[in-house]
């Protein structure tokens, strides 16, 4: 009962010998994630937490058949790591690294799309299907398995919401952070389509924030095609007007991007928008008991 990752997922860790990579590999294994291989160019032959390390993704794929790669390498090297994973035909790439130049991501996204690879992130906490598989950096113990799908642009705010769901006895099918960068692989819209098709997800919590028009596009999909109930929260409602440069950005995003616009679009699609995160379980409860 989940999307993207489950108990069958075979995980490759790119950057497994780095500080973050090694630390989180251990945590993922402790959670029960099936980590089959790691890659760090030049460190092939090593073993980390009983996981074999390879010099290239191609070698790791040949010998261990991973179905998902998670990337912990530093930002300057992360675009190449994503391209390498896609070139080796790994169908799902989850990039945790933050600080990747936006124009690098423009090229990476085009290449990955042409390859038919799904990717999540960058600059995101990863994906967890509670009780089955954790791929990323989220604290494990706040999650509980269940039927609520959670999707968010933020990291710690997701933890906040997940913890409140768990405290209210509402378990989760899958929780994913899609990342807060301007260029990301999987959008709110993509995730909603996956949750809509997942037989084990019966409601969705969507945590958005100011900027971009991803929430507005998701609202349109919810209004037109989604049958499952959705509850939302938008961060940045009180962010003040001010500093910015030029005018070009404002033109391209039109009137969208403001918290007001997003809340309105969601409410018009029948999505209740919580004013504080703690309100989410209550809204979800009343929506589902209708």
């Amino acid at each position: 009962m989940s999307i993207l990752v489950d108990s069958e997922t075979r995980v490759l860790v790119q950057g497994i010998t780095g500080r973050d990579g090694a630390f989180h590999t251990e945590k993922m294994i402790a959670y029960g994630t099936n980590v089959v291989a790691g890659v760090t160019p030049g460190k092939g032959g090593l073993t980390i937490h009983d996981v074999p390390v390879f010099n290239s993704v191609a070698k790791a794929v040949e010998q261990t058949k991973p179905t998902c790669s998670v990337i912990y390498v530093p930002a300057p090297l992360a675009p190449d790591a994503m391209l390498e994973a896609a070139d080796a035909d790994i169908p799902l790439i989850i990039c945790i690294s933050e600080g990747i130049p936006a124009l690098d991501m423009v090229k990476v996204k085009a290449f990955l799309r042409a390859k038919g690879v799904r990717f999540v992130g960058p600059n995101c906490p990863g994906v967890i299907s509670p009780g089955q598989c954790k791929v990323g950096i989220m604290p494990a113990d706040i999650h509980m398995s269940g039927d609520v799908g959670v999707v968010s642009r933020s990291g710690t705010l997701t933890y906040e919401v997940v913890a409140s769901l768990t405290a209210a006895g509402m378990g989760q099918s899958t929780c994913l952070g899609i990342g807060g960068d301007p260029v990301i692989g999987t959008t709110f819209l993509d995730t909603l389509e996956l949750f809509e098709a997942d037989t084990d997800t019966s409601a969705v919590v969507m945590i958005g924030e100011i900027g971009g028009n991803d929430e507005e596009r998701a609202a349109e999909y919810i209004r037109e095609s989604m049958t499952k109930p959705v509850v939302s929260f938008i961060a940045g409602r009180t962010a003040p007007p001010g500093k910015r440069m030029g005018h070009a950005g404002a033109i391209i995003s039109g009137a969208s991007g403001t918290a007001e616009g997003k809340v309105k679009a969601l409410e018009n699609a029948g999505v209740p928008v919580a004013r504080v995160p703690a309100e989410i379980p209550t809204l979800l409860h009343s929506l589902r008991s209708r």
Binding site: M105, A110, G242
Partner: protein, 399 residues
């Protein structure tokens, strides 16, 4: 309408003269000009360039023209006189958000004979993850108004991420902007050059407004603005060195150097949070319960005690801050690191404002122990902590 503060990824701004030097390297024609930092230098620059000249204040805020930051002079003496008035003047425009900026440098440029004013820009269209080139025949004015009133007068071409802007796209756009064969050819070149400058220098914005067609049929960038992706500056040393710290809020600059995202606001509750989304949600909640946040501050992922110490120093240098609210949900961030930084800050600082702490997640127990043994009480609910902070500040105001 002004835009919103976007807490993720601040673009680095440069001055007009710097933007023009970068664009010129990529083949965009710009007026001959010289930078000057006192009226004498303005005089000799005007003499050397030949009058008439335009004197343009070099500040980061837009809207200079209306605020008196752009002057025309017909003789070197006139240029010197105009510059004397300008130097040291505090410039306040609709983009300086209330505060004024001191003029320290001006760009002296040969004036051009304007026939038509066009608009040209390159940005990243995040809705389709492609660079977009935008242009209009309505240059020299507020382009947002053109977009709102007459959207059909804005032409757009999206560049393929892997192939780039194709020549026919530049030509198509150029032919929308003018009919003269010679001008169209020059425009096509400028469009391609601006796109190249955007891609190769990892810009977040290239904006040429106005892009002028002169009376003798030459295309020239009379004003230019560029912004750069902070994440890519590591591979653009020359551009990184163009940062003008004097133009930035000193506290925000201090925060940036320490690796913190910080935006100063007007309220009385200082907020220290890990994660941009949670930081915004905390500000929203402060307002929701009747308080005013003093800032947006994201201490980021792996937060060392040093970062927390810097964060505290920055917050407490603002006299409006009546209480500091910590909202930490540990993931990569470890609660004990944050606690250690807080204790060190409190030992070092003379003024100790009321501190309200919400701490949960990774190494929560260790963090609590550190704080409680130093007499700081810790809550585990965000809502309770925010309410508490609001009541502390309100109580302070009444007494």
């Amino acid at each position: 309408m002004r835009g919103l503060v976007l807490p993720r990824g601040y673009p680095m701004k440069v001055h007009e003269y710097q933007a023009k030097s970068i664009l010129a390297e990529f083949g965009v024609p710009v007026p001959r000009g010289k930078l000057a930092s006192n009226p004498k230098e303005v005089f000799s620059a005007a003499q050397e360039l030949g009058t008439p000249v335009i004197i343009k204040a070099q500040v980061h805020a837009g809207g200079r023209g209306k605020a008196g930051g752009i002057q025309l002079a017909h003789t070197p003496a006139e240029a010197e006189a105009a510059a004397t008035k300008m130097f040291g003047k505090k410039l306040s425009t609709y983009q300086t958000a209330g505060s004024a900026i001191t003029i320290r440098r001006v760009l002296v440029e040969q004036a051009v004979q304007i026939d038509k004013e066009l608009y040209l820009s390159v940005v990243l269209d995040r809705s389709c993850s492609k660079p977009v080139i935008m242009s209009s025949t309505e240059g020299g004015v507020e382009i947002e108004e053109v977009a709102a009133r007459t959207p059909h007068k804005i032409y757009k071409e999206w560049a393929d991420p892997l192939v780039g802007l194709m020549s026919f796209q530049a030509r198509r756009m150029a032919m929308n902007l003018d009919t003269d064969k010679n001008v169209v050819k020059q425009l096509g070149g400028v469009i391609s050059s601006a796109f190249k400058a955007f891609m190769i220098s990892d810009a977040s914005l290239v904006e040429i407004n106005p892009l002028v067609i002169t009376k003798d049929g030459k295309v020239i960038a009379v004003d230019a603005k560029m912004g750069f992706d902070d994440s890519a500056l590591y591979r653009h040393e020359t551009i990184a060195q163009m940062r003008d710290s004097a133009e930035e809020d000193p506290l925000e600059e201090q925060a940036r150097t320490a690796g913190l995202s910080f935006v100063r606001l007007d309220g009385s509750i200082g907020c220290v949070v890990n994660g941009a989304g949670l930081a915004m949600a905390t500000m929203d909640m402060v307002k929701h319960f009747g308080g005013e946040p003093a800032n947006f501050l994201d201490i980021g992922g792996s937060s060392s005690p040093d970062k927390v110490l810097t964060a505290m120093r920055i917050l407490l240098s603002d006299p409006k801050v009546g209480a500091v609210l910590f909202n930490i949900f540990g993931g990569i961030t470890r609660c004990d690191d944050v606690a250690e930084g807080m204790v060190r800050a409190l030992n070092e600082l003379d003024e100790k404002p009321p501190i309200i702490v919400r701490l949960t997640g990774t190494n929560e127990d260790e963090g609590r122990r550190i704080l409680e043994s130093n007499g700081i009480s810790v809550g585990s609910s965000m809502e309770d902590a925010v309410k508490h902070a609001v009541s502390v500040v309100k109580g302070g105001e009444e007494s």
